[in-house]
Symmetry: C2
Subunit: 325 residues, 2 copies
Amino acid sequence: MKPPDIQDIEAAADRLSGHAVHTPLLENPALNEQVGARILLKAETLQRTGSFKFRGAFNFLSQIEPETRATGVVAYSSGNHAQGVAAAAKIFGIPATIVMPADAPAMKIENTQSYGANVVTYDRRNEDREKIAADIAGRHGATLVPPYDHPWTIAGQGSVGLEIAAQCAERDAQPDAVLVCCGGGGLTAGIATALADRIPTASVHTVEPDGFDDTRRSLDAGSPVANDMNATSICDALLAPAPGEITFAAMREHNVTGLAVSDSAVRAAVAYGWRVLKLVLEPGGAVTLAAILDGVFDARGKTVVATLSGGNVDAETFRMCLEEA
Amino acid sequence: MKPPDIQDIEAAADRLSGHAVHTPLLENPALNEQVGARILLKAETLQRTGSFKFRGAFNFLSQIEPETRATGVVAYSSGNHAQGVAAAAKIFGIPATIVMPADAPAMKIENTQSYGANVVTYDRRNEDREKIAADIAGRHGATLVPPYDHPWTIAGQGSVGLEIAAQCAERDAQPDAVLVCCGGGGLTAGIATALADRIPTASVHTVEPDGFDDTRRSLDAGSPVANDMNATSICDALLAPAPGEITFAAMREHNVTGLAVSDSAVRAAVAYGWRVLKLVLEPGGAVTLAAILDGVFDARGKTVVATLSGGNVDAETFRMCLEEA
């Protein structure tokens, strides 16, 4: 399968209209002054289900043939794709089964169940979630909804890029760079494709947690490299084992480059979100802000868009970030 | 002095342009579904200094004659007006002294100092903050910046109402009612004046904490009634002793009516902000949401704008809200 093109992304945006939230592009004077830059925050934390994942899931489900819908959908996810698929499935009246790691944040599991989805848990270190999901799909004839490596998923996430471009134009901002929180690369691939059409002068960069910087290393190497899955990070949303085939191809095509941040920089960014921005960020949704605040990305003098990809964080983790920052 | 009229508010909005944040009017599908209404959230939590107070302070300071500026400004405030005045004074290069209760949230005191203001604390139960501020103003020839009961302050806050009207029009929303977090009534007076011109069909309602519902009782009685100052509430921003003369006159003229909510409903609203909306709300900034979620205001079937007036909350108070909700 090929990556989506700009028309696919425009079609996805049309399907999402009236269902997804048109999230604001926020600007905070204190952040601008502190960094010495113009930072525009694309707050997908304010998206339906608390993360951008609803976009890709809804766009995917909307293209399942009506006669196939009754057999349901299956997805595997650490939590945000789970909620996105569950919420979209509820809208379409499609039964949903979601395979989630047993150590996923309780809030993500509870929210997924709240949309009526059936949650099946697995051991993230010893079991293969793709196999579990494929088995369930096979048994029930259900459609597997990939978390990132599918053109329909990527096209849905790409609608974020169209909104960024329109919102930058509205306020006469010409971004030099766009930073994207990166797990499997679906959001980055979609945004990079949209911006290659709308703002070709802006560079696009993934931000990953240290130890899960597979995308950065893959882009540097020119071919996919996997993570050591014994690594750990507070960024539960960004622990994908390797870039997807399609997402990697799209990111390569659009000259994306990668960055990585430490967990301590992420905790500080979550705390900054609470203290200064007044936004609830989950660790994985704060890596772009961490890259800017920590200087991993030198934003000084630039106009930079940072996606804040999600805000689904357990109280315990949130407290820990506020205390340690 | 007379309340500001719509031209005064439009002039204030012009002065604020480029200095205050044009805060988003947010909509959350989960909240809409839960309440059975269309709820539009005017997120002044995302304003410069974390509350709407910057607007009134900036508009006031911009009208101090240049030759008077060098002698400085003085303000008394539980914390949000303090930050607003301090931040505006820094922009104009005016020395600022702020009189704050010793038991104000540490974050509010620290933030006020961070703008370079000199903070003087007092005992909220045994000392008269207005006298302390007047003494300081008298000694230094400084200009007192009233927290709410002045036409310039009210006009600045009224710019929130102009934005609400424009943002509702952009999305074809016709609000039936607008709920405003209320301490001394400056924000309500400003919004009610703006909306009487822009959306005269919308009713405007104050929301106060139980025990500090002076505005509600005053509007019911037709003349100002004070609070029992031995009452306590978690809403540190809304503990004004009585409505202002000018704010009360404006609220009466525009047929504002009042509501009150319990501290437990406020804690639940702060927790809801964190869990569902992904917004950091301080207790006083969440009373409108509390009124809707708790059913004190019956929003069902209506289009309702709720102001979220501030997000400056200490970690300890925030944790307590998350735990008890």
